[in-house]
């Protein structure tokens, strides 16, 4: 029995078709669906006019090393990222974060592209990507050809639930260089239980020492600002200094000062400042040992 093709569920096969479909009025792009479906499952938010499923789109899944970079397809799931040998070798900090999101059922569906495009301030993969200076590849259809632009992850988020993506723009890949030899990167999140928890706060740090002096520093925070945030002041507090107790204290003070947490159902503003300082101190002391 042939059925009428639905104009409410579109399954494009190419990036070009997907960008054209996604540009349609009221269209929602569907990757893993773990953030998207709960929005309307309770009837609180109305269903989008159309779902643009990415499941059949070629070329935006998988994880590869290309030209000295790691390239992660937007459709790579959290389970894949957590166990992928390339990620575990080049950026174990990202594998760790992906493996601690939610639970197996969600990690098997949730994608890194979805985690970023959903633009939660608590997005667990965003902070490791900030540490890695990741770049996001964005495709769009300009009416006659496919265009591409790249955006640093630090410039991708505009606010809670908001990104720089225009309607019809599609995040296709996430790229970053492997951690430099001798660099140390770690990430941690805090919540009331290890699983199924939106972080009260998360913190990541990447440092490289040369002759006892910090010559490279990246700090990132989640759940403590309207967007996942790079800790530039905390980085300044670390740079060109030994990784001493005094440096760690300066870094903690800078972090406490530069984050902009709110009080909500999960924690108070002051508590979040304290938790960030404590987690940052623990991560930095782990570098020494």
């Amino acid at each position: 029995m042939p059925l009428e093709q639905s104009d409410r569920y579109l399954a494009p096969h190419t990036v070009q078709e997907a960008t054209q479909d996604a540009a349609g009025q009221g269209a929602a792009v569907l990757a893993g669906g773990t953030d998207l479906l709960p929005r309307w499952s309770k009837g609180v938010v109305k269903q989008p006019d159309a779902l643009v499923s990415l499941k059949d789109v070629e070329g935006i899944n998988g994880i590869a090393r290309i030209n000295g970079e790691v390239r992660v397809g937007a459709l790579a799931t959290m389970s894949e990222i957590a166990s992928d040998p390339i990620i575990r070798d080049a950026a174990p900090v990202l594998a760790n974060a992906a493996g601690r999101i939610a639970c197996p059922q969600v990690r098997n569906r949730a994608t890194i592209g979805g985690n970023l495009c959903n633009a939660s301030p608590a997005a667990d993969t965003a902070v490791p990507l900030i540490l890695l200076d990741a770049v996001l590849d964005i495709a769009a259809w300009n009416g006659s050809s496919l265009t591409a632009r790249e955006v640093p992850v630090t410039k991708f988020f505009k606010g809670p639930g908001a990104t720089v993506l225009a309607p019809g723009e599609l995040l296709t890949h996430i790229r970053f260089k492997p951690l430099a030899a001798g660099a140390y990167a770690a990430w941690d999140k805090f919540g009331t239980r290890p699983a199924m928890e939106i972080a009260v706060a998360s913190v990541g740090v990447a440092v490289r020492l040369d002759g006892g002096t910090i010559v490279h520093a990246r700090v990132g925070y989640g759940s403590v600002a309207p967007v996942p945030m790079r800790g530039r002041k905390a980085e300044v507090a670390l740079m060109d200094r030994p990784l001493s107790a005094e440096t760690i204290e300066r870094c903690q003070a800078a972090a406490r000062d530069e984050i902009a947490p709110i009080t909500d159902v999960r924690a108070s503003e002051g508590y979040r400042r304290d938790v960030v300082a404590v987690m940052l101190g623990r991560l930095l002391r782990n570098v020494e040992s």
Binding site: E4, Q5, L37, C103, V106
Partner: protein
């Protein structure tokens, strides 16, 4: 609303049906195929009561649009029993009293099944991690973990 054709395999049987574009896999399993062993708990991926195996991976059926399953293979709790006999993992749950009200049980067993497929000899910590997405509001976790560990140890 126009319906869309969906063809997939459920518990080893090919199924073709027409579904609304926004139906979830859980809607189709329970309402169309009458496989009500898979439970509707929270409907938003928090409780794990609707856990099923989709192409070898455990997922929350409430978070999967049915049309994403075109051509896929789904295994539900009804597909575990064979020849009128419970699967040994189901039997382990019975033997350990790992069932109180029973509502979480199908989801727990499917999550445990996926865990054991990937890791036949899990530690207690592995089991807890494997079941971290499944809530038991009777809080019978101890016996559930024991049941899974006993099966991992060669059967109850």
């Amino acid at each position: 609303m126009s319906l869309v054709e969906l063809a997939f395999v459920v518990n080893g049987e090919s199924v073709t049906l027409s579904v609304p574009p926004f139906a979830t896999l859980l809607d189709v399993l329970r309402d169309d195929l009458e496989l009500t062993g898979t439970k509707y708990g929270c409907g938003e991926g928090e409780c794990g009561a609707c856990s099923v195996i989709l192409d070898g991976k455990v997922v929350n059926a409430c978070l999967v649009p049915a049309l994403e399953c075109e051509g896929a293979e789904v295994l539900t709790i009804e597909g575990l029993a064979f020849g009128g006999k419970m699967h040994p993992l189901q039997q382990a749950f019975v033997d350990h009293g790992a069932i109180q009200c029973g509502f979480c049980t199908p989801g727990m067993i499917m999550a445990a099944y996926a865990l054991l497929e990937a890791n036949p000899s899990p530690t207690e910590e592995d089991v807890k991690r494997g079941l971290e997405g499944n809530l038991c509001r009777c809080t019978g976790y101890r016996k559930i973990v024991d049941a899974v560990l006993s099966f991992a140890g060669g059967g109850a």
